[in-house]
Symmetry: C2
Subunit: 229 residues, 2 copies
């Protein structure tokens, strides 16, 4: 019946939320806590390490551990593949390729992805439907410098997203969320009025410092992205 690291973590969190250890105060050191919970120091260490990761406490060698003044509030968003997102909602997924061309990267894209002069890119426009209704508009640019195979891939049946996670499963990315007004083309594809406010995510993806792809995903009217924390 000795304390597990979960017990210790829960108890410490309790002491903090109940104000016994108020924000800014110094938490007892690991050795003392281990004694008071009658467990090994490693157990206390794991509990506290996780609390620090959660943004509840702040730890510094020698200085000790203190309760954060304002806990760092952070939310984790899972970035799903559209197909999975739609199917998880119990809707039928359908995909369509709207447009495909290969060209020199436009200036704005070169700037964004640090592409070399004269780099060629594959530009794709696709639509994703849920139960037949427009769900998401995808405007994607893939660097052919890094991924020449993309030029031969067939994107008429499956979306570039799925192809890319298979081709380059591990990469870094920067994602932004913003709001845009529907232009005529978006309004047409997404079945809304021009001028409607739409939710958009933009993502640049990199692999070992090299740009792979940039994508704009624009959602149907009224879409919201939600997370718990």
């Amino acid at each position: 019946m000795t304390a597990t690291y979960r017990d210790v973590k829960a108890d410490i969190l309790d002491k903090i939320t109940q104000g016994i250890w108020p924000p800014g105060s110094l938490v007892p050191n690991e050795t003392d806590l281990a004694r008071s919970y009658d467990c090994a120091r490693a157990t206390v260490n794991r509990a506290m390490r996780e609390l620090a990761e959660d943004g509840i406490i702040e730890r510094r060698r020698k200085a000790g551990t203190r309760v954060r003044m304002a806990p760092v509030r952070q939310a984790r968003f899972a970035i799903p593949i559209v197909r999975a997102e739609i199917e998880d909602q119990g809707a039928a997924y359908r995909y369509a390729l709207v447009r495909r061309d290969i060209r020199a990267a436009p200036d704005w894209l070169r700037a964004r992805l640090n592409l070399r002069d004269g780099g060629r890119v594959l530009h794709l426009v696709c639509m994703h439907y849920a139960d037949g209704a427009p769900y998401q508009h995808e405007d994607r640019w893939i660097s052919l410098d890094l991924l020449p195979k993309a030029a031969e891939a067939d994107f008429t049946a499956t979306g570039p997203n799925e192809w890319l996670v298979a081709a380059m499963p591990f990469s870094n990315a920067e994602i932004s969320f913003l709001a845009v007004q529907a232009d005529a083309s978006l309004a047409d594809h997404l079945g809304c009025a021009a001028g409607d406010a739409l939710f958009r995510t933009e993502r640049s993806t990199w692999w070992e410092g090299q740009a792979i792809t940039f994508v704009r995903l624009t959602f149907r009217r009224g879409h919201r992205m939600t997370a718990q924390y």
Copy 2:
């Protein structure tokens, strides 16, 4: 010169990104890895536990550890206090209370927060400015059932957000991101045209199952929220 858990983690990640252990494949078990890195099993365990948290691998007792087919892509967003967000950008922060009233919770709010019938709420409308320009419009509802002190707090000088993190530092929340069209009032406050697309976050906050507050934060035109991952 024995391997640290960081070394092990980095090496395993390397093997995965370089395709030596392709997606779906089974990773050697902890005992074998410990032997091959010449370290304790606990060291391998920590490395693999972190990789699992990062969504790179998937672990199941007895079944072993496998490389995920598609790594779970997830982004962490820090949810800042507006003041800090603005000041971090090097801009001067200014706050203004636009409106304050106490009333019975409207139906839509009662439904959203599971408030009891006839629950009273404090309704605040505030503006946050960066270098004098409108930055964010805040439309906040605070449950007076749970936080009666809020009725006496002075929100003319500092925003409710800062008051709330001091009053209720630890709580759960649900956050949504969406796009809205500016109505006349928003357009006026944020200095944009009616109909403009604006980025909005909505957040409901709870403490021990009780609703504390609901807030709509609408940002100035062109705002984007960004995260790396």
